[in-house]
């Protein structure tokens, strides 16, 4: 539908142009993070009890860490480009970065996408209803609940959920992934989506209120259109503009994992690996996940731009 509206050609050009810009962006991201990581003192094999110098030198030689940084970077890039190999993990022996992403990313993606969809549906409906019935009890309720949900951090909410549903009620398992059983998904999804849902609800409400007061909505009323038509045909799309620009980064945030969710619920998503790789100086894992996150950010910003053009004809791709 989007492509049809934008005339296939223009759309294709736009995507091509964006990819052309994305590649240098990714290269800069790669070089900068590689360099920053390496310049920080310490390394993957420094620990409180230092290894004998000879052993350390051997290990570093094995992973190529004794090479100058530009050589390491070059080998790393060559590995990615020629074999799609993001290197070995220094911390988890015998596992490559690809293995770790292949294991963790589907988990994160599952609860991330569910959280995202839930946040949009609940947040969107709540925000719209609050705006349409402004200053009613429903509106006050929605505003109150969303403020509460926004200020409640998920590292507080997650233990409370476990306390209620696992320890008191005994309905849900307190953690683990278990191949993505729905019992294991519920609490991570609630903990992850609540604050996003609240933000979406508040954004939708305020932009809907603004749109409902605009002149062209007054015109729509003067035409004698039914309220439903006014809201869904005239008000909804413009009201979604600010929401959509929020959704791109929000989606990336949700599907690239949350350390807190993975740590508290033991779900084993990439959020956990990401933070641990930073603590462990697990260079390759960190780099791999950074590139994944960077590419997704670029991709979804592009999706947001395309949606923008679909909603607002004044925007030219």
């Amino acid at each position: 539908m989007v492509a049809a509206l934008l005339h296939g050609d223009k759309m294709f050009n736009f995507i091509l142009r964006r990819i052309a810009v994305a590649i240098p962006t990714l290269i800069i991201l790669l070089i900068a993070s590689f360099w920053l990581m390496q310049t920080a003192p310490g390394g993957p094999f420094t620990s409180e009890r230092p290894l004998p110098a000879q052993v350390l030198a051997n290990i570093e030689a094995k992973y190529g860490l004794d090479q100058p940084i530009y050589k390491q970077l070059w080998d790393y890039v060559v590995g990615i480009v020629t074999q799609f190999d993001f290197g070995p993990s220094y911390k988890y022996k015998d596992r490559s970065v690809n293995d770790i992403i292949a294991q963790g990313f589907p988990v994160t993606l599952t609860y991330g996408v569910i959280s995202f969809v839930l946040a949009i549906i609940v947040g969107g409906i709540l925000g719209m209803a609050a705006a349409i019935r402004q200053n009613s009890w429903l509106d006050y309720f929605a505003v109150g609940v969303t403020i509460g949900a926004q200020v409640l951090p998920n590292f507080v909410m997650a233990p409370i959920l476990i306390l209620i549903f696992t320890l008191w009620l005994g309905w849900l398992p307190g953690g683990g992934w278990n191949g993505g059983q729905w019992e294991n998904i519920i609490m991570p999804v609630i903990a992850l989506s609540t604050s996003y849902m609240a933000s979406i609800a508040r954004l939708t409400r305020s932009s809907m209120l603004e749109v409902l007061r605009s002149n062209f909505i007054r015109t729509a009323r003067a035409k004698g259109l039914p309220d439903r038509t006014i809201i869904f045909r005239h008000a909804l799309k413009p009201a979604l503009l600010p929401v959509i620009s929020y959704l791109g980064p929000a989606f990336v945030g949700m599907v690239t994992g949350s350390f807190i969710i993975d740590a508290i619920f033991g779900t084993g998503g990439i959020g956990y690996f990401y933070v641990n790789s930073a603590f462990n100086r697990d260079y390759a894992v960190m780099m791999g996940l950074t590139i994944l996150l960077g590419s997704m950010t670029i991709l979804f910003n592009m999706v947001v731009d395309i949606l923008y053009a679909w909603i607002d004809p004044k925007i030219r791709l």
């Binding site: 605009s214 002149n215 015109t219 729509a220 003067a222 035409k223 004698g224 259109l225 799309k237 004044k314």
Partner: protein, 331 residues
């Protein structure tokens, strides 16, 4: 009515009141809300084919009055008789049936068009809503006709509002209002955002259309010379009250109410010498707050002729003969 042969009025408004409940700044939740009497007991009639101009300062209730007639804001009291039905008391469904007979056009022409719809869609929408049985082909045909009538070329039909100039946008707005063949169009300051040359275009278009289609117009403006040009009769509003209703010529030649007099003396004359030597009747003080209007005659605080009676008793709108109705104790 004096002349029994004249056709019945299309629209008959009696004692229309629109009050808003306003929360004072910093008020506690339990303090009662203030009442803003935006329109406070307005009576008038609109004949078929007639243009009624409504003039008054900003905030005097012109737009609110128009919207209350269309039921876009709820009225507190009064009746709005339209072809035998009281628009204020009929059901929503009956009201919807009447909506195709009355349309509105607005001040800011570009902002009044949905920026995300093509002008073809904008103009077709009222038609599809009010005549759901029309075939797509008939809708398209009618949209083309009406856009053609207001001077928008058929090849522009798939363009978006921002691709048009202000005057073109207002003509699209007029086409949008005309497409359902209404009996009345309420024009809420339709030209105040336009250049003078474009103003003339739009007003002449409205007058031509009125003649062709036998439309009645309610023309709200604060530019008195524009109102004089287009209106058959003019109604002067002040703080939600009618000060005077009279034939357009009569009003400008011999204003009946001191407020009308002041308004007319402020109209610039397009002749520098005459303009320099003319006497403008300046009003003292500011417009009183509609939250707390003066007792008696609402105009008395700024009226150069105010007497004791003006503070005590609210003057009724009374006929002075030759169709001039004035609400003033002194005249």
């Amino acid at each position: 009515m004096k002349d029994m042969n004249a056709s019945d009025p299309l629209l008959k408004v009696r004692d229309l009141k629109v009050w808003f409940s306003i929360k004072r700044d910093g008020a506690m939740p339990w303090t009662p809300h203030d009442t803003l009497k935006a329109v406070d007991g307005v009576d008038f009639e609109l004949m078929p084919g007639e243009t009624l101009g409504i003039v008054g300062e900003s905030g005097c209730g012109k737009s609110t009055l128009a919207r209350a007639i269309m039921r876009m804001v709820p009225a507190e009291a009064g009746t709005v008789m339209w072809l035998g039905d009281d628009l204020l008391s009929i059901s929503k469904r009956q009201m919807n049936a009447h909506r195709k007979e009355m349309q509105m056009i607005f001040q800011d022409p570009l902002a009044s068009l949905n920026p995300r719809m093509t002008i073809g869609q904008i103009v077709a929408e009222p038609l599809k809503t009010h005549f759901p049985n029309l075939k797509d082909k008939e809708v398209k045909q009618r949209v083309r006709e009406v856009l053609d009538r207001v001077g928008i070329l058929p090849n522009m039909i798939n363009r978006y509002p921002h691709e048009f100039s202000g005057g073109q946008c207002q003509r699209i707005g007029i086409a949008r209002a005309l497409v359902v063949k209404p009996k009345m169009i309420i024009c809420d300051e339709p030209v105040s955002a336009l250049d003078v040359s474009i103003q003339a275009q739009v007003i002449n278009l409205l007058m031509e259309l009125q003649e062709e289609m036998g439309l009645s117009l309610i023309f709200i403006a604060h530019d008195l010379s524009v109102v004089k040009h287009i209106s058959t009769r003019v109604m002067v509003l002040y703080l939600g009250n009618v000060m005077e209703i009279s034939e357009s010529d009569q009003l400008y030649r011999a204003p009946g109410h001191p407020y009308t007099e002041a308004l007319i003396s402020a109209v610039p004359i397009p002749d520098p010498k005459a303009e320099a030597s003319k006497e403008v009747m300046l009003l003292d003080a500011d417009l009183p707050s509609p939250l707390n209007p003066p007792s008696g005659c609402v105009f008395r605080t700024r009226c150069p002729h105010a007497k004791d009676i003006c503070a005590q008793e609210k003057p009724m709108l009374t006929d002075r003969g030759n169709g001039q109705q004035v609400a003033c104790h002194l005249r």
